[in-house]
């Protein structure tokens, strides 16, 4: 029998999430990360407990019995007893009703250990994407390219700022980094040699729109084992509407053959971005809330690693989501989950990035609490050598952390570093009672700041989408496990 005394004061909504997705009734224990499949009676009992906690603030067997009676058409006493006994078993083994561990205070050295940088090698772009947060490539400034000297200083910075860490990451970003391919090439050579001299390694990634991705560049990326993120929004009309050239011409026809050619070189890419990988990513907007069709279009092009993500836009933007869009977007995630399962069963599956959750070997809790590390583990470098918390803050003077051309580039603006370090989920009121807190880490700092002007207030639409994605992700994972079992 469930020990209600042990559950005194237990915040059900925050710690156990019960939901229906497709034909599954799922119980997710937030603090342990355990997942249970429930029958209808158990689901009813757990939802009743959840509602009791929210209305009365505590749980008891008498209150449960009363609520079940009031609702009518409910499990008989014997069934209820069986279920409560099973729930107690799970409670005792720590896989249900588990407690949140005491809040841990992250301990950081005085000077941050920066292990990853984003080099903005080009604040210029050969496309004029409507939703570009970089102001179509220039980040609110003039169109400039990073010179080799600044890039080398960036590499030296991350090798020094990473201190005892042996693995560093350097991302070539823009604008469009291939506009400055000569510098990219030289920096890969320089970075590899400089890292080797210090017994370190650098993992390089490059984010490109694909326009300039010719065979020679593809070969270079292959030979140098550089991971690549390629941009494609899906169906031709969707892509061309948002991703035109400066003269208004669409870019779909140009980029698709190049993306197909390149992705075919990496058939064994890890869906979890391990090793040298590729991802083809797109952005969906108000104009394509049925973005599942875009994902499937990309899968039909032979692309196996796909990520299509919601645009972050101000209300004045015509492509920004509107209140009525949410239901349509939820439906799209539902349809996408089912379609992925169907294709998996047919042996033509693909990975949708936001449905990838590593259920039993995901990141540790300290990592989940702190999130992306922007501003202290990760910084972005503008073409001029200025340092910012991440690529999305570049050009915003209030967020400037320092410069590669300062006397001591490692001396970052301490109060800003501290502000970013402190912006973990415990500092965000909206995250306190959210069941998805350990899977999203409080969202994107840049999106939160853009919408709320604060690092510790969240972008609510982003939260809603995150929770929906996670529900479908858990469902797809469970179904996948069931499919595999059936095949054994």
């Amino acid at each position: 029998m469930l020990n209600f005394k042990e559950l005194e004061g237990y915040n059900f909504q925050k710690n156990v999430h019960c939901f229906q997705q497709g034909d599954l009734l799922i119980g997710y224990d937030v603090n342990s990360g355990s997942i249970h499949l429930l029958d209808e009676e158990t689901f009813t009992i757990l939802k009743t407990l959840e509602s009791l906690y929210s209305t009365e603030g505590h749980l008891s067997q008498e209150a449960l019995a009363r609520e079940l009676r009031l609702a009518g058409n409910l499990p008989n006493n014997e069934t209820v007893s069986e279920i409560l006994a099973e729930l107690e078993e799970l409670r005792q083994e720590g896989t249900l009703f588990s407690r949140e561990p005491e809040k841990i205070a992250a301990v950081y050295p005085e000077k941050p250990i920066v292990k990853a940088i984003c080099l903005h090698v080009a604040h210029d772009c050969n496309l004029r994407c409507e939703y570009c947060f970089a102001g179509t490539g220039a980040f609110g400034g003039s169109r400039t390219l990073m010179d080799l000297e600044t890039g080398k200083r960036g590499i030296d910075f991350v090798l020094a700022a990473s201190r005892h860490r042996n693995h560093c990451e350097v991302d070539f970003f823009g604008g469009e980094p291939l506009i400055n391919f000569g510098v990219v090439k030289a920096l890969v050579d320089y970075g590899k040699k400089a890292a080797r001299a210090q017994n370190k390694t650098i993992k390089f990634t490059l984010t490109t729109n694909g326009v300039l991705l010719n065979e020679a560049i593809q070969n270079f990326l292959e030979e140098e084992e550089i991971s690549v993120v390629l941009s494609l929004d899906g169906r031709p009309e969707i892509h061309d509407r948002m991703r035109p050239h400066a003269d208004g011409r669409g870019s779909y026809g140009e980029v698709v053959p190049r993306i197909q050619q390149f992705t075919s070189l990496r058939p064994k890419t890890s869906p979890y971005a391990i090793g040298t990988y590729y991802y083809v990513r797109g952005t969906y907007t108000h104009f394509n809330c049925d973005f599942d069709r875009d994902v499937l279009h990309m899968a039909d092009l032979g692309i196996r690693q796909i990520s299509v993500e919601p645009v972050v836009a101000g209300p004045q933007d015509p492509y920004a989501f509107q209140e009525g869009d949410l239901a349509e977007i939820y439906d799209a995630y539902d349809r996408l989950g089912e379609e992925i399962l169907e294709r998996q069963a047919q042996g033509r599956g693909f990975n949708f990035f936001h449905f990838n959750v590593a259920l039993d070997n995901g990141p540790c809790l300290p990592k989940r609490l702190s999130g992306c590390g922007a501003g202290h583990e990760y910084v972005a470098v503008s073409p001029e050598g200025d340092l910012y918390p991440c690529h999305q803050f570049v050009g915003q003077e209030a967020f400037k952390l320092g410069s590669l051309y300062n006397q001591d580039p490692l001396d970052l603006k301490a109060d800003l570093v501290q502000e970013f370090r402190a912006a973990n989920i415990y500092a965000k009121p909206a995250c306190q009672d959210c069941w998805a807190r350990f899977s999203c880490s409080g969202g994107c700092h840049a999106a939160n700041t853009a919408f709320t002007q604060k690092l510790t207030e969240v972008y609510e639409l982003g939260c809603k989408l995150q929770r929906k994605r996670l529900e479908v992700a858990l469902y797809v994972k469970i179904k996948g496990i069931q499919q595999n079992r059936d095949e054994l």
């Binding site: 099973e86 947060f133 995901g362 991440c390």
Partner: protein
Amino acid sequence: MAKHIQTVVKANLSATVKTGGCGNCQTSCQSACKTSCTVGNQVCVK
């Protein structure tokens, strides 16, 4: 085997408070603009 509840994943995330935090994992990105890796999609490198 339980009659009403089937455990699909038995995990102990809370315990990683003590065992985790090595900092060797890939940097994650929570934003919509860059798919380097978001926390929810990562695996532990340990």
